[in-house]
């Protein structure tokens, strides 16, 4: 059962990371990077590391996404890829 969940999480992480790199709008890319961090935090719980899971969820998924959006709002979203 745990093996099955790990496989599904790995596939989801792979797909969302490909989406983050290949999409044309910057907003989608930033949100997809935050989603990769969220699923990686679940993977850390399965790997029995609760401290690391808490830190990854708070810093990578919360503060990093907010930082990207603050910078994007100051640049103006005319410059998409």
């Amino acid at each position: 059962m745990i093996l099955f969940i790990t496989l599904v999480l790995s596939l989801v992480i792979f797909t969302v990371a490909l989406l983050a790199v290949s999409t044309k709008t910057l907003t989608t890319s930033v949100i997809a990077a935050g989603a990769v961090s969220l699923f990686a935090s679940l993977l850390y719980v399965i790997l029995r590391a609760p401290d690391v899971a808490m830190t990854e969820a708070a810093i990578s998924s919360g503060l990093m996404t907010a930082l990207f959006f603050i910078i994007l709002s100051r640049i103006g979203r005319k410059n998409d890829d």
Partner: protein, 228 residues
Amino acid sequence: MIRKFFILIILLAFSIILTGIITEYVSPEALGTAASYYAEKGPGEMGATNLVTSVLITYRGLDTLGEVTVLFLVASILGFYLNVQKSNKNSTCSPLLHTASRLIFPFIFLTGIYIIINGHITPGGGFQGGAFIASAFLLVLLAGLGKDKSTGLFSILESLSGLVYVLVGLAGIIFAGGFLDTRILPLGESGKLLSAGAIPVISILIGIKVGAELSSMIVKLSYNGQGN
């Protein structure tokens, strides 16, 4: 064309290295040398129930001090690059966000303080609690509530806590085994709140420092230049 060829060679080289790591990975049966020392002697010497926190603060305490220094360096570089100007726009966010963030902010702050203080008993510690507190300040910033506050208080808090951290480390030389030895305070009974020597004190200092630093980074980045 040459550029694409070189990019392909670099990615192929990385794939070969990573495949080598994956195929030669043998799942280990027992703990290594350093880990077995920490497992045997750790709870007895340090008195903390959370082994990762005791490794992070005492056994590898110099790495944590280096990390705190790197964070301080980055925060001061950000303050050097960006000039903070007060913006005079009225807050145009919806009343739902305004009211809800005023209600929720004390609870998030309290959860952050709880995670910092109980760092040596349950999973948690200084860094996690500091990130929680910074998220609480981010919520307040998004709702437009703290517009007229300056970042002076954050700078004073962060510098003071860094100084006291180094002073606690130096007190370890005078009263106990060496630099950053946490046995300067009594060990107490493991599992209670006041136990494990100076580990709660260092956790609180790290939590204040990281929380103030991350909050001031985010406030400086959003108040700069024209507009919001």
